[in-house]
Structures are given as C-alpha cells and as structure tokens.
C-alpha cells in the first residue's frame, strides 16, 4: 500500500511503502507532516518509477493532487491536468468543479490517499485508492454538510472509501481516464 497526502506535488511514490507530506494549493509552500505523524523512514532520494505499474501509480498520485487542488480552488489548471488525465475523468472533473462554483460548494482540508498495488490489464492499469476524508470538510452555502456523503442506500458513506481508477496510455503517458467509487466495499 502506498500512502500520501493529496497535495504532495510531484513526489513519486512508486517504491515507497508510505510517503508522507502535506501541502495545499499550488501557490502555497509545501509543508511536511510532523515526524510523529509519519513513521516511515525519510527517503534520501526520490525513486524514479520504472515499470508501467510504478509509472501509472505516480501519475495517479499527481492526478489526485491536481484534483484535490481543483476542488479547493474551484478552478482547473489545465497545465497540470492535461498531463495526468484524459477521457471521462478529464471531463468529470470539469463538471464537478463547475457544479461547485455554481452551487457554492466548498471544500477544505486534506484528503489522504493510499494506493493499492496496481493491476496491469495490458491496455489499462487499475489502481484502487483508499481515500480517507477524515480531515476534509465539505460545505454547501457555507454550512458544513453532514454527513458529507451518502451512499445509494441513503446511509453515510464509509470512510475511508475505496475508489478504483483506470489509467490508459495516452501519447506515451499513463493518464487517469475513469474512476469508480466502490461504495459498498471496505478498503
């Protein structure tokens, strides 16, 4: 399992068991988590992803960073989105951010993403992200939404919740093309 916070900004995680770090929007300085919150050894160098699975995982990490930043800023930075997303996911993120703008929905805090081992399907690679939103607050018109999410049965969505991402090769790079919230499965 690979674990990181959402705004790491380009930290490759392929070979690390746990990557920590905490950042926020692109314009803000990166801040590391206190050591007490990250028991993993401090890496002395950033491993370069080599296998397709490692490259895909690294791309997904970058995408999640871009996505979470887009949520917080309610804006899309295509310079960062274009290299990591395509297809439905590319459009869906725009749709979500546009809806947040129009409906005055805001989000604060940091998601924590923990990636499972990638599954290579040849033309695509599937990776499940165990998404923890314990430190995330969603507001509608300034009021905290409780519960923040509800599953199709109307019950509070479990936390953390697994999300399965599909990555496809696009112009030589693995890009996130689809996502599926596995709401009825535990992480």
């Amino acid at each position: 399992m690979r674990k990181h916070h959402s705004a790491l900004g380009g930290v490759a995680l392929a070979l690390a068991l746990i990557l920590t770090g905490c950042g926020s929007d692109d314009t803000e300085p990166k801040v590391q988590d206190p050591p007490s919150q990250s028991p993993s050894p401090t890496p002395t160098s950033t491993p370069t992803p080599k296998t397709p699975e490692e490259k895909a995982a690294a791309q997904l990490t970058k995408y999640l960073d871009v996505r979470d930043t887009a949520y917080r800023k309610r804006d899309i930075n295509f310079k960062t989105l274009n290299p990591v997303a395509t297809g439905d996911e590319f459009l869906q993120l725009q749709h979500v951010v546009a809806g947040m703008m129009n409906e005055n929905v805001t989000v604060t805090g940091q998601y924590t993403h923990t990636l499972a081992e990638p599954r290579n399907r040849g033309a695509s690679i599937l990776i499940i992200d165990c998404e923890d939103r314990s430190n995330v607050t969603w507001k509608n018109d300034g009021a905290v939404r409780q519960p923040d999410f509800t599953d199709p049965n109307g019950d509070p969505l479990r936390n953390p919740a697994p999300v399965e991402y599909t990555l496809v090769k696009d112009k030589g790079a693995w890009k996130v093309s689809d996502s599926d919230l596995l709401w009825d499965k535990p992480c």
């Binding site: 395509t86 439905d88 129009n102 199709p152 709401w183």
Partner: protein
C-alpha cells in the same frame, strides 16, 4: 385444413402483455457528487460523463477543428460548439454580481456559459453565448421524437394458436406474422421534436423480426409475414415459418414460449446532422403447445 387440424377449440388468446426490452445489465460506475453529497451509479453505457448520448439510443458525432471525432454531447448534457471548440454547458453563475458581459453586450443579449474542454484543455474560462444560439444535441431531440411515437412490440400472429386447449403437431408448419400491424407496432411512423431553433424529424420502421420459438431456434424474418388462412392447408409459410421437431411436453408448463423481437431502425435528420438509432422491442412470451399425432392400427 391446417387450422382445423391444429386448433381444436376456439379460444381467444388473452390480451397480449407487451414489454419493452431494455439494455442488458451493465456494470455501473459510481461517483460521489461533491455538490449534493450523494453517490450515483450509472450504467457505463448510459453514463453522461463521457459525452455519450445517454438517452437510450444512439449518439451523434461532432468534430474538433483538428478533425478528431468526439461526441456531440458532453458533461451534464452540454453541447459541442464548433465555434468555441468546447462543450457549452449551463449558465456560469458563480454568485454575486457575476462577470460583466463583453463589450457591446448586455445581460439581455446572452449569458456566460461553462465551457467543458476535451483533453487537452487550454483555459478554464466561461464563454459568452448570445441568446438563441445555444443548441441542444439533435440526438436528444431525436430520442424525444421517438418517445412521442409511443412504439410497441408487435402483436403475435401464429398458427398453431396459443391457448390451453390448442395443440400443434410435431413436423407440421408453423406460421408466424405480425397481427394487425399498425404504425406504432411496425411503422413507418414519423415524428418531430424541436427546441429553440433546432428541429429534428425522425422516421421509424421495423427492419426485421426475430422469432424465438422456445425450442432453441430463432427465426429471423423481414416483413410482416403472411397470415395463415385455411386454404393454405399444410403449406409452409412463404415468408416466415418454422417446424417443431419435438413435443413441448418437457417444457415448463408443457409449452414452448414464443417471443417476437422487432428491430426498429430510426432515421433522423435535423440540426445540421443526421443519424440512425436502433433498438429492439420484445413481446411477452406466448405459450405454444406442440404434441404428436398418434396412429392406431389393428
């Protein structure tokens, strides 16, 4: 005569309950809607996040300036705009007084709209759309036109007839046809739908009918088939027929369950585009009993 041989007691078939066949179950993609907080799951075939038609039959294809083919419908029912090279969606309303109209325009002349970019995107800016120029995907209108047709599966015409006291015989001809065909069960039927400046006309007709005879045989027939009449005797149907090789006694309820699936083809045109939408409508099963003639010799 065949009818007399096969049908012993006159009994009218009950009213035919008809059903529309829906697409086979597909795996569903689920997403958490950050706006409502609700988790939605949609069939992959019918999702609306990828720009497919998503309205139950067909989609149209548009082209980017570079020649790349993309769906004409984008996220949230947005519509591809050739002039802006993006899918134009809802009015952009970020609250407050909002952005000012461009020079020379007023809020009475148009509105800022969300612009969804196909990958790769360039700028996340809304686009100004003058009133009357926002279009709807013609496929959506085509589907509305189809819905207004209120199409139904066919009424099954078959000999031997269905009924508790009716039995056909192994090896004898079975005739199948469309009973009392109408515009809404066989076509052709034309309807139109419009919204704003866009109008679409659609003509639907049945191109073929697949008869599932319940014994593992499927018979595909074009046309309405030929209604059986006594004077045909033991002839085969000239257009749509079958012969059972076994009795139906080992079937559930002792009868073969016969269905007819009509394949509809809808040609539509409008909004500067044209296309074809195809779908199937299937009847409820009709039980047909098949027995064997016994010959007694002394």
């Amino acid at each position: 005569m065949l009818r007399r041989l096969l049908a012993f007691i006159v009994a009218l078939a009950g009213s035919l309950v008809i059903v529309m066949v829906t697409a086979s179950a597909a795996s569903a993609d689920c997403v958490a809607d950050p706006v409502t907080g609700e988790v939605h799951c949609e069939d992959e075939d019918g999702g609306n996040t990828g720009g497919g038609g998503g309205t139950g039959g067909g989609s149209s294809t548009c082209s980017t300036s570079s020649g790349t083919e993309i769906p004409c419908t984008g996220p949230g029912g947005s519509v591809w705009s050739s002039s802006h090279q993006c899918w134009v969606g809802d009015v952009w309303d970020p609250g407050g007084e909002g952005p000012q109209p461009p020079p020379g325009q007023t809020n009475e002349d148009g509105a800022w709209h969300i612009c969804y970019w196909p990958p790769p995107g360039s700028s996340w800016d809304p686009v100004w759309i003058q009133n009357g120029t926002v279009t709807i995907d013609p496929v959506v209108l085509a589907n509305r036109a189809i819905a207004s047709m209120d199409l139904d599966p066919i009424r099954i015409g078959i000999v031997p007839e269905s009924g508790p006291n009716r039995v056909g015989l192994v090896g004898l001809p079975v005739w199948m046809w469309v009973d009392s065909p109408t515009d809404d069960t066989f076509g052709p039927i034309t309807a139109s739908a419009s919204e704003g400046p866009v109008s679409v006309s659609a003509t639907a007709s049945v191109s073929s009918i697949v008869w599932d005879m319940g014994d593992g045989t499927k018979v595909s027939c074009t046309g309405k088939g030929t209604p059986y009449a006594d004077h045909y005797g033991k002839q085969d149907s000239p257009t749509c027929g079958h012969r059972y090789a076994k009795m139906s006694t080992d079937q559930p309820d002792g009868a073969y369950q016969v269905t007819a699936t009509s394949h509809w083809v809808v040609e539509w045109t409008g909004g500067g585009q044209s296309g074809t939408i195809e779908f199937d409508l299937t009847t409820d099963p009709l039980p047909i009993r098949i027995g064997e003639a016994q010959v007694l010799t002394q």
